[in-house]
Amino acid sequence: MPVLKHEILAIRDSADVVLVRQRVRHLAQEAGFSLIDQTKIVTAASELARNTLDYGGGGRVTMEVLNDGVRRGLRLTFRDEGPGIPDIELALRDGFTTGNGLGLGLGGARRLVNEFRIESKPGAGTTVVIARWR
């Protein structure tokens, strides 16, 4: 699938989470997303960037503007080399948290996008890929 634009941002502290929100907003606007679609993907990105920081010990996000011939989309890949998630099904469940949050991050982010994929192994880090189409 043609990638129209490609950017990478490091996620090292909570100011980077804000920066991720701002870049995702910018790219979603460029891709022609409606205000509601922009808000959904920015919110999902905020949840996942915070997870990368709090649970993955930091990492990076790759942001891609896609064109499948008919419509435009935005794909975000969050990658960390942290401890990984032992039980992904459990981590996706609303209300489950090992931190001090509400446990809505992963499950909530999944509800806000069209595509969601997670790969994680204990000791090998976590990769979360989300995409939203216009």
Binding site: R21, Q38, K40, T43, S46, E47, R50, G101
Partner: protein
Amino acid sequence: MERIPILKMGAFLLVTIQVDMHDRLALALQDDLTSRIAQTNARGVLIDISSLEIVDSFIGRMIANIAAMARVLDAETVVVGMQPAVAITLVELGLSLPGVRTALNVERGMALLEAALAPVRNGTADASLET
């Protein structure tokens, strides 16, 4: 460190969040507001979030915490000005902010706080609450 200003107006505290808050700033606001309620004997807190372009679970939790702490300190909280796209996203995310009063704008939010305080001012509630 950067701080979000808290204004005192009569018995109420007013906060307008105009920046894209990072998590530490949100936590600082939560702490600052709680101590200001206690210091000033405030009876109401109005938080204007009309400039916020997103409310994620962290900011949502901060808002819910502020309302809960204010309630324990005998103050009402009202959140005003949430953008429609933010409201739609927040509910889809799974957050409905139970226990948090909301109003469309500052004017209606102030009216809500005034109404909540009215029984106290009219002397129908426990008079010892008056300061």
